[in-house]
């Protein structure tokens, strides 16, 4: 399954819908993670907050290929996209193991193929380096075998990248 998460606004939904099996528009109309671990310890795979991200970990967790399209924010995802990742930690279990020689949680849905991140907007060299490191780390954390990071100064070229 190919999943796309983007913060480009609803006007891009039609274009992106053809490129994937499941599309999540990061419009920010949802609450941030409260750090309660309830999606591990109380109601597995489910957040206690009843909004559109309540079961987001099932979509992200079942993705073979996950594509995140995000505005650059200091070498990290935009708050709206990061919010979705923060609310998706139910894709791992509360138990721990070693992955890439460091401690990580075991994966509820097993390994995934590819994490691609496409960042747009003004970016510095330092921010690019931070972003690349973060994408590699996220891939290990979420259990993706491969990861790619693109930066594009022109989001209109999106179709070519996809």
């Amino acid at each position: 399954m190919r999943v796309i998460v983007h913060d480009l606004g609803e006007q891009y939904n039609a274009l992106l819908k053809n490129k994937c099996d499941e599309l999540i528009c990061a419009d920010g109309k949802y609450a941030p993670c409260q750090g309660c671990f309830g999606c591990w310890t109380k109601t597995p795979e489910k957040c206690f907050i009843k909004d559109m991200l309540r079961e987001a970990c099932r979509v992200i967790g079942n993705a073979d290929e996950l594509i995140l399209i995000t505005q650059n924010c200091y070498g990290a995802y935009s708050p709206a996209v990061k919010n979705i990742l923060d609310r998706s930690i139910g894709l791992s279990t509360p138990l721990s193991t070693y992955r890439a020689k460091q401690m990580h949680h075991t994966l509820r849905y097993g390994k995934h193929e590819l994490l691609s991140v496409i960042a747009y907007g003004d970016i510095t060299e330092a921010e690019k380096a931070t972003f690349e490191l973060m994408v590699q780390r996220n891939a290990v954390n979420f259990g993706f075998i491969k990861s790619k990071f693109h930066w594009s100064d022109d989001i209109e070229k999106l179709e070519e990248i996809l």
């Binding site: 109601t43 079961e55 138990l95 070693y98 401690m103 996220n138």
Partner: protein
């Protein structure tokens, strides 16, 4: 020197960040204001507080290798505010992750450095802590051992014996915190003098294989208590849409 210490955990009480902020506070001189950043409602008040400060200390949890989304949201507003008002601020960060390796906080520190560069304020470094949750849970042990100390005295044991027992138990707990405390002292001095500290990583003083066993037992107990263990605890369902 006026320092604003911001607890940016979304939790209302007993957050790991509040514990590390408490420890750091012990070593910071001058005027200190403690603040909370839990949601958008805190932004306006925080910007006003920060505008009169010399330094900010952010204390926050690590979420998915980075800064939690509600904090990123605030940083964007703070960037604009700093540039509009040409603020001159020193920024320090204490971040804590559940995983044992302190250097898993590296990306978070870089994001804060990038934020400072864009905002025209001074990145002064921070402490990245691994295994923070365990140190936070252990703080309860300070009170439990103090309770046992009092019981010992009431039940007639000598003050000297009771004190030795208390010192021993507290010493053991402090040992696990020793890396954090060491850097708290260093960073506290840097904050008080308005100097750069640099980025340091530390952890709960325990080998990682042992920490993983302790963390697993912790989550098994919590999951039994909260009931998740009986509700498809490790299973993944195949529902694939929101």
């Amino acid at each position: 020197m006026k320092t604003v210490m911001i607890n940016a955990s979304p939790k209302k009480k007993m957050s790991v960040s509040s514990y590390f902020l408490f420890l750091q506070r012990l070593f910071v001189g001058g005027k200190v204001i403690k603040e909370k950043l839990r949601n958008k409602g805190d932004h306006k008040r925080l910007l006003e507080t920060v505008s009169e400060a010399d330094s900010i200390v952010f204390c926050l949890p690590l979420y998915v290798d980075g800064v939690p989304s509600h904090v990123l949201m605030f940083l964007k507003e703070l960037e604009q505010y700093c540039r509009e008002n040409s603020l001159d601020l020193n920024v320090y960060v204490i971040s804590n992750g559940g995983f044992i390796e302190g250097n898993q906080n590296r990306v978070l520190m870089q994001v804060f450095e990038n934020f400072c560069n864009r905002s025209g304020i001074n990145w002064c470094g921070g402490i990245g802590i691994g295994g923070g949750v365990m140190l936070n849970v252990m703080r309860i042990m300070f009170f439990i051992y103090f309770g046992i100390f009092l019981l010992n005295i009431i039940s007639g044991s000598s003050l000297q014996d009771a004190l030795i027992y208390l010192a021993k138990q507290w010493g053991i707990i402090l040992f696990f915190n020793i890396g954090v405390l060491f850097y708290n002292i260093g960073m506290g001095t840097a904050i008080s003098r308005g100097r750069r500290f640099g980025v340091k990583f530390t952890r709960a003083m325990m080998p990682s294989f042992l920490f993983i066993i302790v963390a697993d037992i912790f989550f098994i107990l919590i999951s039994i208590f909260k009931g998740g263990i009986f509700r498809g605890w490790l299973k993944g369902s195949s529902k694939k849409s929101l």
